[in-house]
């Protein structure tokens, strides 16, 4: 077999136009500038609401994607981590007067512990069995939160005082919240990009694609799965805290419902699993769609917004099985007249 010399690796560094794994692209920079612009311009309150939820859910979808897209740990139980984060910072604030600026990180840490526990408990489960276990796990957490009323307020939930206060992370201006949520999404995006470009990221890809082969390459699959789930859970928990700080109220069914878990999984699936830009595109398409349909049609014809929403999802799943990220790549390569 011929000894061909390997290609030179020191290629000229040019900014790619479309997103690529582990590299910053022009598309991403422009998208970030647009997002900053949207925060800065004066939108109507409804639109601002939609905008900040879009950012928040982009971050949450990115967090889910670390486990589901990169490590292949498809989870329908991430609402548990979302809830753990939301409850931790809120309980610390309401019961112990600890500022959410600290509480958020405590929530992230505790959510990481929950994530690691889930990964260890489900260590031997794969495919549908793993997915169903994550769903059950979240239900256990929800029922736990319902019953531990002295701490969580049970079904009545917990409220955060709406008096604006920087130390309590409560603001009157939705612009501030939008900036906060954008900051969160950018943080999770940056972590995702760093992961893609790292040896650890490759370990996760390998575990996802073939555990036996990964193991034969010296990768400890259980360690990879557990750490990926913990990281994903932690970032989801941070998002949960932010959610609680925005709504100033939480109860178990509001923050730990299967619907929330499905939403986390759906956005990356629509946008493109295992890509950094996918969950962002998913959130930019789905979150405004679902919010606007709900607010505009919710009263006129109960349930109609769900029909339109579902029809949209089916179209995406049928025609863009690789998600929006793949569709954009295809479009960029499309040469109709050659």
């Amino acid at each position: 077999m011929s000894i061909a010399e390997p290609k030179p690796t020191g290629k000229a560094r040019r900014l790619p136009i479309l997103p690529q794994r582990g590299k910053v692209s022009l598309f991403e920079i422009l998208l970030l500038l647009v997002c900053i612009g949207l925060v800065a311009v004066g939108l109507s309150p409804t639109l601002r609401d939609v905008l900040l939820l879009t950012f928040l859910f982009a971050g949450l979808a990115l967090a889910w994607n670390i486990a589901g897209g990169y490590a292949g740990l498809i989870s329908f139980g991430h609402a548990a981590f979302f809830g753990v984060g939301a409850y931790t910072s809120t309980i610390l604030l309401v019961h112990f007067n600890v500022t959410p600026w600290i509480g958020i990180w405590c929530g992230g840490l505790l959510a990481a512990v929950f994530g690691a526990v889930l990964a260890l408990v489900c260590a031997r489960l794969r495919g549908p069995f793993f997915i169903l276990s994550t769903l059950a796990f979240a239900e256990v957490v929800r029922i736990g939160a319902l019953n531990w009323a002295s701490l969580t307020g049970g079904p009545e939930g917990l409220s955060i005082s709406p008096a604006p206060s920087l130390i309590n992370m409560v603001f009157t201006s939705k612009t501030t919240y939008a900036a906060l949520m954008l900051g969160y999404a950018v943080l999770v995006y940056a972590i995702t990009k760093a992961l893609e470009a790292s040896r650890y990221g490759y370990y996760l890809f390998a575990i996802r694609d073939d555990e036996d082969a990964a193991s034969a390459a010296g990768v400890n699959p259980q360690l990879g799965r557990t750490s990926a789930m913990a990281l994903s859970a932690s970032l989801t928990g941070i998002g949960g805290s932010l959610f609680a700080q925005y709504f100033l109220y939480l109860d178990p069914t509001f923050v730990i419902s299967p619907e929330i878990s499905f939403q986390f999984a759906l956005l990356p699936a629509v946008g493109g699993l295992g890509t950094a830009i996918g969950p962002v595109l998913g959130s930019f398409l789905i979150t405004p769609l679902s919010e606007l349909l709900r607010s505009n049609l919710g009263n006129a014809a109960a349930g109609l917004h769900l029909v339109i929403y579902s029809a949209g999802l089916i179209v995406v799943m049928l025609y863009f099985p690789g998600g929006l990220a793949a569709a954009i790549g295809k479009l960029a390569r499309w040469r109709p007249f050659s």
Binding site: P6, Y202, D210, D212, A213, S215, A216, A217
Partner: protein, 242 residues
């Protein structure tokens, strides 16, 4: 010749079936050991015992002075045992070079370093034109070569090849045989399971034969080709090695 791998009285039971029954053999540094036997003889199970996929129910495995019995596959890989899979197990969503980088990481911690090592290894097995190709576009023959490249990119002390010739064209078999024969000179000890007998009989320095979980013969290829027990259990008739 110093001993690199020693398998001592290894057994593996599946229920009442003794898949590997009290097998002992050793492999010297720089040897090319052929492992042959009919289907179901226990070759794959024996590989799985060495590679750590299954713990032996009895016996001991010593590699490079360390007792590795019951170690996990990733621990065994880290001390220098590479392997291929009989049915190729590529990472489906990664490119060819990325597939090889994963094992190269055992030698080169940086992404750029691992990529370079992977590219060199791929060029070595004749896949220089396929670095960025998605693995779904590879033919069986190319997938087998990818398996070989993955096992070698970690620069193993010992490599376990599992039927790397199956599905290859006669020309490819010739090229691959020559390639494998050259590995011991590069400091890589080889154990090779193969049904393409003329390839293995020509290159192996020694052959061991398994049948029904037991080691029934051991010796140079020429002797094995005429050994009555081997002929009866596997070959069917004496093999002409000329």
């Amino acid at each position: 010749m110093s001993v690199l791998l020693e398998v001592r009285n290894a057994s593996r039971k599946f229920g009442a079936l003794m898949a590997v029954n009290n097998v002992s053999f050793s492999v010297g540094q720089g040897e090319l050991l052929g492992l042959i036997g009919p289907n179901g003889a226990g070759k794959s199970t024996l590989y799985n015992l060495i590679a750590g996929v299954l713990p032996p129910t009895a016996g001991e495995i010593v590699f490079d002075g360390k007792t590795v019995t019951g170690w996990k596959p990733y621990e065994v890989a880290r001390v220098g045992i590479g392997r291929t899979f009989q049915i190729p197990k590529p990472y489906r969503q990664l490119s060819v070079v990325e597939n090889v980088m994963l094992t190269a990481f055992l030698r080169e911690k940086s992404i750029a370093g691992a990529r370079r090592l992977a590219e060199i290894t791929l060029a070595d097995v004749g896949l220089a034109d396929y670095f960025g190709t998605p693995v779904s576009a590879l033919t069986v023959g190319l997938l087998k070569r990818l398996e070989v490249a993955r096992a070698l990119a970690m620069q193993p002390k010992l490599v376990l090849f599992d039927e790397i010739m199956a599905g290859l064209t006669p020309t490819e078999v010739g090229v691959m045989t020559k390639f494998v024969a050259g590995l011991p000179a590069r400091g890589i000890t080889v154990i090779w399971v193969e049904h393409v007998l003329y390839a293995i009989m020509k290159t192996a320095s020694r052959i061991i034969v398994l049948n029904r979980g037991e080691l029934i013969a051991e010796g140079p290829p020429a002797a094995m080709a005429r050994d009555p027990a081997v002929v009866k259990a596997y070959l069917g008739e004496e093999m002409d090695l000329a």
